[in-house]
Symmetry: D2
Subunit: 329 residues, 4 copies
């Protein structure tokens, strides 16, 4: 249970896994898994159904869909088109609008100038923006392929704006009255293996930190007034997470090592609290504010952001009926 | 008067010059000039004092200060510091806040991805942003050098956002309640000689197009609810302007040419309306949407944007008392 | 013939058109035209076959293929794939390598920081670079789809490097010994209607200025030692060109105008030299160093650069046999 | 000695510290320290004087000067000017040219698109480039302030070019014949506390990996033919380094912990090789290719790159005589 104190993950899936690894059953949380063998895409749906489940998970009530595709980091254009297609399909489930035509504000969160944080801004760069055209010339100006009103903003981060992002979004929502927000953000994962290979979609909006309760800086239906769908890709791991994992591995190794069997015997004599005390001393304060990311992050962020913007362009165009075809899951 | 139909300038100074060249006196508009010989900085103040003057000028009532400095395009750091200092001084006159501490929203208008239009975004890149720090840790966190709350936004252009910029700004103002807005924008000049050598400051906000009346897309006290100071630098000339100027020159030359004296005689027989008809036919529709800009625009926009952000940083820091010293004008 | 003195075009096609409009037949230059109605792609091949032809045209002996596609500026992905395919096909004709596998150095000319000049750098950003992988792991590492050794450089412009680009390229060629160079550059057109709608491919390399003779700053087989294929897209028009065109139109109008018939009669009395003298006086020296470009240049340069990099990726992958299929021309 | 197997540092200073922490005296390596209390700048000079020393240190024979200034990460402009001044002074010692005027090629190493790796490219962005002007107009064109011929290149990284950087540099050197190269690169430190607070200058060039011997990919006098001065700033720590450090801390804690005394006793019974075996198992293969960097890396890289380019501009201008004045160390 050491990790409770120091580990951060933005993936509901990883949060659930932690409880599983501790053999703890979480009340009010339902897990579904689906695997598309041919395309090697694993889809996990975590539903947090009760406030109790939310409290345990440290994430608000809602549905979290995670697509894991090991080849997402590979530059195969056809494969990325399939992922775009799947993603569009999942997003459509969340939107379930009874309006035939709706108005969407896409928010590209993050700092364009820090490579692994630029995912949101890059997605916005490649979107088909239509709101101003439709308002000026009417829906028929777009042809029948695009009748939804798409607007987008890259608000910047607090160090650049001096404002909470939610202040900016709330203001824009009041003025432009979109039906729904889709917010794209770079996430922190617990496992470096998930970096740039995973997309999480959630109907819960963006919840900083522990993420439960009506945090004033959250970007959610409660704070901005319209539903917020979040799309996230883990591009970094907190430095403290990697260090913590290693220490756990070391302690586990000490407990089971042939070579160091004697140590293991002693370690087993100590309880979790004592182990935690030991680890806490060792986590360097210099790790705060540090993150871990891959060396080829420029290429992978560029590629995945393009995959997401293609999914959104597909979703928003009228022709999204055909998204469902060819769909396996 | 040909130019009335086709010429665009965002500089009040150039608008005034047009009437002067036509020997037309404009009622309700006052002009003051000042020249700092040593530093070769010419400062012109155009005050539009009546609605009639505004109508004639095609610009709202207010004060427009223009600094012209031929060396502004030259990479001389000391010289740029002097310009920053002058600029800070002029801005201070406009702010005249009775509050000792005030809250400013700086808006970097324009498209970061089109070099001559990137001025506003570049200025914001180099600002000292303080609002979030002061709100979190109090004014004393900043030392005594900076007690104003500075926030900033780069909203993007309509093609990127699908929204009118004023919608975005209005929303943010409602949420964050600044005392004043300073909006930075790249301008169109009439004369290519003024490109990147001129800074205009106005207390009238941003007024697209003809700029009179409460245009719904203007960013002014009327539309956003707080005073808006505009800082602009001409970085482009409309293609139609350059063509028009040449045609006027040609017609003038025909009228006075020794070689083509015969033509001149004939031309003099035609009135302005007939000449205008001639010119209108010749302005290619392909010139719409085209602009003219210098080849070294990357260097000059970078340099001038830095000069402006330094002026703002100087102005916003508590130490702005000393701006006035060493000041010539 | 006024234009001879002031007009610049980097398109062989436009140079040829000038002589045609003057009803001058150019010896040693052959023109072929092809029109693909369905896709609205016009392909013009200008072959300069003799040194005399080269001297008249102001461009070196060689073959210049121009693809004009009005919809190239439109964001239609399928259409851009067809253009990529056509472009790959034309490039393949030029390469005609007897080697089954060859080594290519792609050079992205221009200034990344001036939007209309960023075409070359942007093309390089999206290329599949393979030389280092093949040299490290052998050809089989790439699968059978890519066996050519592709390298690339974005040298920057002289103001950034202090070096002639040919110095940089010559040095790199000596060290890395490619079989061929493909150089991508933004061009100046004479007609604003061709901006961002035209691609020129030439087997003559890059020839600055008048472009004939072994100019020391040219990037050609003579100066760098290996064949150089040039791919160019006109993204700007010189400011002087637009002004000149307007003046010609005005003079032509004066000569034929009903309203100003009297002027026309007089004008017809003057010869070309007298008219040129008139025009020369009027071309402002302030136009030097100014260029004209469209307001949406960020979007069009991004889109066309992507189309060209896709063409190159298609060409360089082993699967380029299939480029020829589906090909109309 | 666990760290020998897994730790990477590009700082000679940190390499030396490792031996000191192990109480190992390194033959042929001399250390000098200097501390400027007022400005809190610590300057350490490591001289590797013998091949034996080089072998032990894993770095070539030469002089490595390290400036450590904790406030380097703080946005204080005056302080940065002092660091620029100091840096210029140290660089001047290395250049010791007997020519009154020399020609310098500045090389901005690294990947512009990965924020912590963009240091070199950013430095080049702000340099005063003069070679092309002096060659065109003579030395007097520059005024007396700049008579050295400065050229610069941002070669890109191997994944972008398909070429070893040394191939590119070697070729350019042969064509343009500079007297000296100054290469700027982002480094990996061992300690996260040194990130963005340290500048290392070395007269040994750039030596990838272990760095001893004439590695074919090194950028040194041996490989490119002219002296190479390297300027580096640590902006990242390898992920494996941080993990390793933590494990060492944990093992040390186990050996001394009051709580876990029993474990310590057992651990002390194992030798370094056994401990190493344990650690090796635990270092995740997923850590390869991952680096650690601070969240505000965009601001710090921008600021420090500007400090370095100012130092170079100062050094290269004729007025560098005055660098020495006001100098404390």
């Amino acid at each position: 249970m050491i990790e409770k104190y120091s580990i951060r993950t933005d993936l509901a899936l990883e949060q659930k896994e932690r409880f599983e690894s501790d053999n703890v059953e979480v009340q009010g949380v339902v897990l579904e898994e689906d695997y598309d063998e041919e395309r090697e895409i694993k889809v996990t749906t975590v539903k947090i159904e009760t406030e109790n489940g939310a409290k345990t998970m440290g994430k608000p009530v809602g549905t979290y869909i995670t697509m894991e595709a090991p080849n997402m980091a590979v530059p195969d254009e056809d494969y990325h088109q399939e992922i775009s297609n799947e993603l569009a399909k999942f997003l459509e489930r969340f939107i379930k609008s009874d309006k035939e035509e709706y108005s969407v504000l896409v928010v590209g969160l993050g700092n364009r100038k820090v490579t692994p944080d630029a995912l949101g801004p890059y997605v916005v760069d490649n979107l088909n923006i239509t709101r101003h055209i439709i308002r000026e010339y009417g829906r028929y100006a777009m042809g029948e392929d695009a009748v939804n009103l798409i607007s987008a903003i890259v608000p910047g981060v607090m160090g650049q704006t001096g404002m909470e992002t939610v202040e900016i979004i709330k203001g824009i929502v009041k003025e432009t009255k979109p039906d729904i927000i889709i917010a794209i953000d770079a996430l922190a994962a617990r496992s470096s293996r998930r970096l740039n290979r995973t997309i999480q979609i959630a109907d819960t909006g963006i919840n900083p930190g522990s993420g439960v309760g009506n945090h004033r800086n959250a970007i959610t239906k409660e704070t901005v007034g319209v539903p917020v769908i979040a799309i996230g890709v883990p591009t970094v791991v907190d430095a403290a997470t990697i260090v913590n994992d290693t220490m756990e591995n070391l302690i586990a190794a000490l407990e089971s090592s042939e070579t160091l069997r004697g140590v293991g015997v002693v370690m087993q004599g100590y309880n979790a609290a004592e182990k935690y005390e030991l680890v806490k001393e060792l986590i360097s304060p210099h790790l705060n504010g540090l993150f871990v990311t891959p060396k080829d992050i420029d290429e992978t962020v560029k590629r995945i952001s393009f995959t997401i913007s293609e999914a959104l362009n597909l979703l928003f165009s009228k022709g999204h009926a055909h998204i469902k075809e060819n769909s396996v899951i």
